[in-house]
Structure formats: structure tokens, C-alpha cells
Amino acid sequence: MNAPWVEKYRPQTLDEVVGQEHTILRLKRYVKEGNMPNLMFTGPAGVGKTTTAIALAKEMLGEYWRQNFLELNASDARGIDTVRNDIKSFCRLKAVGSPFRIIFLDEVDNMTKDAQHALRREMEMYTKTSSFILSCNYSSKIIDPIQSRCAIFRFVPVKGHQIIKRLEYIAEAEGLKIDMAAIESIVYFAEGDMRRAVNILQASSSAGEEITEESVDEVVSKAKPKDVKKIVNKALDGDFIGARELLRDVMVVQGTSGEDMVTQIYQEVSKMALDGSLNEDIYINLVESIGETDYRIREGSNPRIQLEALLTKFLINSKAD
């Protein structure tokens, strides 16, 4: 029984973690001292926040780390009550076999402000027995009282040469036939996201014997949300309702996230600007609108509504043309 490679090749120790050298250095100091404050890991997806948290727990807590480590997903746990109950029943007991207990709370930025305030109380209550590691994508979404109770570590996108090294390691372990162009292509599409890089690698390997630049391209294009080009063209042709219906299909039925959609739309538009099918002035106006939409998706309540509003900007540009 084999795990998917993202799990199979997840670094098990702090030394193995790819990138984040400064963070790792400081964390190792905590291990040496045998003590740590509450920590907050912030950074984009797939750069090693969870991996580092688990590796740190293992080294910090030693042999009995499993019994003294609680991993919770703030966004999946139904409501703050579940989180609080889980934390309470875990922290009430004293650590056995380890110096203290560690609670790893993932995606804290998806918790409401109310829930965060409740969490802050829990953090204060159990300082003697437990340490918290919180992780989030955007630290701006975390209330100040929590931020001030944590040592904050900023995780950065993994650098290209580091991803290459890791991919080569996996390729050798799996006995893959892969050339440098293919690896570089994966690195390009991964955009510093290690999880995506490994997933592209495994998907490419499952498709054929030999991994080439072309097979990587194929995997990536297959994995992309469909019909984005159609949506953009429909809107540019002035068929707003048609474009809107298609967008709704892609988002609701295919289940594409707002963030993915906005990235795809941007890529589509910049492609059109380059092959000359889109006027430069229009293009730069659209970029402004797309950027604003990207921001509003994170702030607003319904990403689809924001993307529909973005499509209206395409209409105006088509008329001006």
C-alpha cells in the first residue's frame, strides 16, 4: 500500500524540510532548549507549514509525540465549540513521556473573529501544559491579541533550485525517466508550491513511462479548470449572459475555486495581449480590474459574484474596441 507522493515524500525531520532555512534554524534552537513559545506559521500554500509543524513536534516531544500532539483543522471543524472541546479535553491531561503537549491548528485565518477570541482564551488557559502552533495563509486575518501571543514565522515560496533538487530525489527513488526540461517545466507551473510540484510529477509519471516537457504540459492543462478561454471570449464578444452562465457552470458544477478562476482569467488575458488579439490599453485596464477582483474575492462573501462583476469589465472593453 503506497501513499501518494506528497505524503510518501513528506520530510520527516526539520533537516529534511526544503527551504525556509531561517525558520528551521530558529526552530532547531527551540528543540535544543527543549522549550518553545506559541508559534504562528504564515505563508502561501505548499511551502511546508504543516510539514514543519509535524517535524518540530516529533523532535520536540520525542518518542511519544503521537500521544502528545493534536492536529486540528480550524476550517473543517464545525464551529468553535468543537475546536474548544477538542482542545480542552486534550490540554486537561498532563503530557506523559514528553515535556509538554503541542496543539497544531491549521488554517486559523478561516476562523471567525469570535472563534479567534475564544481560541485566545484557550491559549492563555493552558500555557503551563501546552504550546500552540497556528498556521495561516494571511496573518492579517488573525486578530492582534493572538498575533502578540505568538512568535511569528513567515514561510516563503520554495525556491526553484530547491524544488528541482527535491524532484530529482523523488524521481530517483521512484526510478523515473525524466529530463531537465520536464523538471524545469514542473517548477515553472508549481510557482513555489511544493505540494503542487510533487502532484504534477506523480500525475505525469502515471500518464506515461517517460516524463517529458510535453507530458508535464499535458498534465497541467488537464488539471486546469475548463472553459476559461470560452468565458473570456464570450464576454469580449458582448454575450454577457452566456459568459455568466458558463462561469456559473465552471464554478458550481466543476467546483473551481474563485482564486483559481481569477488566476486562469489573468493567464488567458495576458496570453491574448501577447499574441496581439487584445489591444494593449484594454489589456492594462483589464489587469487593473482582475487585480482588484483578486483582492475583493478574499474580502467579500461570494467569489462568484465578484467574478461576474469582473466579466462586465470585459464588455465595456469590447465596445470601446
Partner: protein, 489 residues
């Protein structure tokens, strides 16, 4: 004098509808006047059906009456003092009985009118005086204890035809010319509420000599809005802040109102800059809804409401003189159609998330890659086993079933080969994949006719073509982006 007062029935004969009930109240009144004590009456019915009218008509028969309604404070003491005394002592003037009218007994407030229900219960129990009580909601909890002690009478809505007849009579008396359908429309929209019907008529007819269908439109804005589409129509058709604010007072979730307004913007507005500007307001409204949700500061809602209402309304240069059919958002049928799939995705994502140390959201982002990995029989089997996926869950990633028997042997082979040299492993892989092909064909031949094989082949060919196309477009996009990047440098 208001027309509702002016034309209210002067005696029981003039009361519209509820014939049986009328007789019952008349008999009840006579009983009391003849010196017989009788159970008190509880009149239940929707507004405008004549409850208060009936009570007042009955009151005329008695020498005195006292009335309390929802606007009075009805705490235990007040009720006891005002009514309790009355009901225990006979009237000072003559031997006349005092009728007690308690309006809106189901509206007695739990906290402010503390003990109100208890006081009423007591008075009803011991009272020697006739009591009539009125209520709207037959299922109100506050009526539970009262009902068994009273003669409960249910008032029905007044029939539209009866309302039409009365409205016509009023028009004639007021000297107003009318079109039949206008009066009928008034009657219908009142939904059996006579008071509303007369009020509406007064609004459009008072001081005029003629009413037309145009007057009806004027009414719709003033009306309490019951329907989300009335709200949307007003937002899209009007530019009058007052009317729009009134229309936005619809009893629905803000996100739902936003959805329906949004849906209909391009159906009413035709100019591109209007659609764009309206959508900008919608986008801003959504921002405030998001902020309200994230911070739990729901006072942000007021900005969202103003933006999606007045903001959208003012985005048009002029009101369109056309009739556009308003529709529900296409998002709802899409959502219900894909519910099964989304539930399955959630279930699988949760299962996988526990092994992958990730939330459902993060796992779902990996689904597209999983789909590609699952096309490979061997990997599919491995992953399905690792995540402990059931057959129906595997369907999320591949349409064909995984051939368990054959692939069960393979992993052991594969494991051995990975330890050996690269070349060897590649060779064995080729062999196994060939085997799979042969076995595929064999099994499909066994299972079904050659037709099925054909149908299986076709989509495969198609998909390979598709992927080629996609590949090409992908390549160009990547190239172009790279060159853009260089250009910027």
C-alpha cells in the same frame, strides 16, 4: 373620517361573510342580556376579517364596555386592576353588564406584560362579565391555556367577490368612476383583508372622480412588499430612493436578495455602462456582506443593502419602458443538480484530508491531479487502498472500475522492481501495461458484445484529441507568459 370607519358595518346584517359566526355572537349577546352567564368568546382570524368590528357591534348591545389592546401595557397588575374590578363589581349605572374586549391576546409580551396570560386566565375563570377576546395566530402558545376555557370561533377570510361588491358600493357613494378590473385587482391583492382593500381604495380614489389601472402601480410601491420579485422589480424600474428603501424591506437573507437582483440586472438594463456600474455596486455590496460575516459586525449590512438597492437602481440613466420577465437565479438549479457530486467530494476530501494533513479545501485543490493519477490502474488501486475509498467514491476520479484482481498482484511486483535498476523497472512497466491492455480486451470481450468495445473506444480517441488541442494552447500560453516576463525584464 377614514373610509374604513365611514363604511364599517352599522349592524350585524351589514357584516360581510362568516354568517354562522355572526349568529353565534348574536345569540351569545342575547344570552347575557337575558341574564344567563355564558362562556367567553375567543375570536381567531387573520387581520381585516372583522374581528374588532364584530366585538364593537356586540358592545353596542351592552350598556358599557372596556377595551384593551396591544398598545396598552398589560402586566398582571394592570389587568387585575382594570378588568378584575370591573368583572367582580356590577356597573354603577343600572344593572347593565360591562363587556370586556381584549384585542390581540396572542400578542401579549412574555417579559414586558409579565403575568398577563395568567391574569386573563384568572379573570376568565372567575368573571361574571361577558368577555370577547381576539387573536390572529391560532397556534400561538399563549392561547394554549385560554382555548379550553373559551368558545373559540375561527373567522374566515372575506371572499374576493364580497370585497369587490363592497368596493363598488363605496365608489358609487363617493361618486368615483371605476373600471371593473381595477376594483377586482384591489380586492385580489388585499388577500381577504377588507381593511386593506378599503384603505387602498381610499388612497387612489379619495378626492378624485375616476380611478384607472395606472393608479394601481402607484399603490404597489406604497404597499408592504411580500415578494422578492416585487423588490427586484422596484430596484430595476424605479429611481426613487424612498420607494427603493421600502422595497428593500423584504424578509429574506441579504445574500439571497443580492443573488436575485444580480441575476436580473442584464435582463432589464441594456446599456453596457449601466450593467457595469450596477455590477460594481453589487460587488461592493458583496464586500460588505463578507466583512459583516468575517467580523460579525452586522451593522455593515446597511451599506450592503443600500448599495444593492439604490446603488443598482441609480446605475441606469433612465427607466426602461418595457416589460422584462424577472427570473430566479440560474445558480439554484445548478446547485441542486450538483449537490450529490459536491457532497461526495466533501466526503472524500474529508477522508483524504486526515491522511494528507490538510483541510477539505486544500485536498479538493489536488483533485484534478488525483483524477490523472487514477487513470493509471496500478496507481488507482494503490491510492484507493491507501485512502480506503469505496467504489462509489473512486468514481469521483475515474469512470471505470478498478480491476482489483489483476492490480492486486502488481504492487508487489512493482515494489520489487523499484529496488532494482531503473532500466529493469521500465521494462517491467512496459510489460505490465501491455498485459493490462490484453486483459482489458479479453474481459470486455467476455463481458459484452463488440458494440460495447466500440463505445468504449470512442471517448478515448476523443479525449486524446482534446488533450492534444489543449496541450497546444497550453504551450503557447506558457511560452507567451515566459516571453512577457522576459520583456518586462
Amino acid at each position: 373620517m377614514l373610509w374604513t370607519e365611514k363604511y364599517s358595518p352599522k349592524n350585524f346584517d351589514e357584516v360581510l361573510g362568516n354568517v354562522k359566526l355572526k349568529d353565534e355572537i348574536l345569540n351569545w349577546t342575547e344570552d347575557w342580556l337575558l341574564g344567563k352567564t355564558s362562556q367567553c368568546i375567543l375570536l381567531i382570524g387573520p387581520p381585516g376579517t372583522g374581528k374588532t368590528t364584530m366585538a364593537h357591534l356586540a358592545a353596542k348591545e351592552f350598556s358599557e364596555y372596556i377595551e384593551l389592546n396591544a398598545s396598552d401595557k398589560r402586566s398582571y397588575d394592570i389587568l387585575k386592576n382594570t378588568i378584575g374590578e370591573t368583572s367582580l363589581s356590577k356597573s354603577l349605572y343600572g344593572d347593565g353588564l360591562k363587556l370586556i374586549i381584549l384585542d390581540e391576546v396572542d400578542g401579549i409580551h412574555g417579559n414586558e406584560d409579565r403575568g398577563g396570560t395568567r391574569a386573563i386566565n384568572q379573570i376568565v375563570k372567575e368573571g361574571k362579565h361577558p368577555i370577547i377576546m381576539m387573536a390572529n395566530d391560532p397556534y400561538s402558545k399563549r392561547l394554549q391555556s385560554l382555548k379550553p376555557k373559551c368558545n373559540t370561533l375561527i373567522m374566515r377570510k372575506v371572499h374576493t367577490n364580497s370585497i369587490v361588491a363592497l368596493l363598488k358600493k363605496i365608489c358609487v357613494k363617493e361618486g368615483v368612476e371605476f373600471e371593473e378590473h381595477v376594483v377586482r385587482n384591489l380586492a385580489k391583492r388585499s388577500n381577504g383583508d377588507l381593511r386593506t382593500a378599503i384603505n387602498d381604495l381610499e388612497v387612489i380614489a379619495r378626492g378624485r372622480d375616476k380611478i384607472t389601472s395606472e393608479d394601481l402601480e402607484l399603490l404597489s410601491s406604497k404597499d408592504d412588499i411580500v415578494n422578492i420579485f416585487d423588490t427586484v422589480r422596484t430596484v430595476l424600474k424605479s429611481k426613487d430612493p424612498k420607494r427603493i428603501r421600502a422595497a428593500m424591506r423584504v424578509d429574506s437573507e441579504p445574500s439571497f436578495i443580492l443573488e436575485i437582483i444580480t441575476e436580473n440586472i442584464p435582463k432589464e438594463y441594456e446599456k453596457v455602462n449601466e450593467i457595469q456600474s450596477a455590477y460594481e455596486k453589487i460587488s461592493q455590496a458583496d464586500l460588505y456582506l463578507g466583512r459583516a460575516f468575517n467580523t460579525r459586525v452586522y451593522t455593515y449590512w446597511k451599506y450592503a443593502f443600500e448599495l444593492m438597492g439604490l446603488g443598482v437602481a441609480l446605475s441606469k440613466a433612465e427607466t426602461y419602458k418595457k416589460f422584462s420577465r424577472l427570473t430566479n437565479s440560474s445558480i439554484f438549479p445548478k446547485l441542486s443538480k450538483s449537490r450529490g457530486k459536491r457532497n461526495l467530494e466533501d466526503k472524500v476530501a474529508e477522508k483524504m484530508g486526515q491522511k494528507l494533513h490538510a483541510s477539505k479545501k486544500v485536498v479538493k485543490e489536488q483533485f484534478p491531479y488525483m483524477k490523472i493519477m487514477f487513470q493509471n490502474d496500478e496507481t488507482a488501486h494503490e491510492l484507493a487502498t491507501y485512502f480506503d475509498l469505496a467504489d462509489d467514491e473512486v468514481k469521483l476520479f475515474r469512470s471505470r472500475k478498478i480491476k482489483v484482481k489483476k492490480s492486486k498482484k502488481k504492487p508487489t511486483k512493482a515494489k520489487k522492481t523499484t529496488t532494482s535498476t531503473k532500466k529493469l523497472s521500465n521494462e517491467t512497466k512496459v510489460e505490465t501495461s501491455k498485459k493490462v491492455d490484453v486483459e482489458d480486451k479479453l474481459s470486455s470481450n467476455k463481458k459484452s458484445s463488440s458494440q460495447k468495445v466500440k463505445t468504449e473506444d470512442k471517448p478515448v480517441k476523443k479525449s486524446s484529441k482534446d488533450t492534444e488541442n489543449e496541450k497546444d494552447s497550453e504551450k503557447t500560453s506558457k511560452d507567451s507568459q515566459m516571453s512577457l516576463f522576459n520583456f518586462n525584464k
